[in-house]
Point group: C2
Chain length 138, copies 2
Amino acid sequence: MNKTEQFLQLKGIRVTAMRILIYNFLSEKKVTVTLSDIENAFDKADRTTLYRTIKTFEDKEIVHQIDDGTGVTKYALCEPNCHCDLNTDLHLHFHCTQCGATVCLTDHKIPKIKVPNGYIAEHVNLVVKGICDKCSVK
Amino acid sequence: MNKTEQFLQLKGIRVTAMRILIYNFLSEKKVTVTLSDIENAFDKADRTTLYRTIKTFEDKEIVHQIDDGTGVTKYALCEPNCHCDLNTDLHLHFHCTQCGATVCLTDHKIPKIKVPNGYIAEHVNLVVKGICDKCSVK
DNA sequence: TAAAATAATGCACTTCCATTGCATTGATTA
DNA sequence: TAATCAATGCAATGGAAGTGCATTATTTTA
């Protein structure tokens, strides 16, 4: 049993071929991916399976969703100690309007946000749009 | 010619009955609205007209889009000196997970966000989720 | 280890929202 | 007033998300 398999088992889900493949696919990517990206990478597999695999990964805090404002949900592997549900360890996401890539800037934590009296903040989503490092040098 | 009509003309678009109605509808709302909300308020009008009216308002910086992560695009009137395209005057949005309302917290400006070298930030979208003031007192 | 239980996968559908083409109606301008 | 251009309405499309159910695979336990 290799690292990926051990990891999935540790997370309390069944280790299947599909899950190993999708997990490895995600870990190779430096940018966030859409369901369609995964679909294109595994055109033999059914869309629903991929969809539900990602949902399972989300539930088990293996991946997190990113809403970058393009209208399509992006996904990325969580960091080792990520607790996406909680108000901790929130990093920001950058969406490049040129190449369309969305990346996790895990080193850039989100500053404390003040909300008015009576409001209770539970989750923060911060997306910066602009030109990424690869596109800005061209 | 009243205030609304003057305003629309100032923005460089034709003043039509539909546009006046939609503008007034938006200005009465304290929360952001979806296209469906507008549709329900004007069930005599065609969906496409409402859709394109909002798009026109967006182009002319009369309304701005809010992506609160619910998957449905929300809209709200811009503030007097709002330039949504530019990196100025960005306020944050609050989405209440209980009542589903999304409000513009126009008094709460977004802190300067640092991005890594090579990245060029052009726009910032910040959505805080939690419980709003009305729901938290219940 | 075979049978029973539970979970994962695949197929077919459905729903919802966003968007477009085209004809028609309405508003502006020459 | 005719010609021009923009706004509206209708019909249709496309994309993404999500669900029900049958089938296959994996795990448990008797």
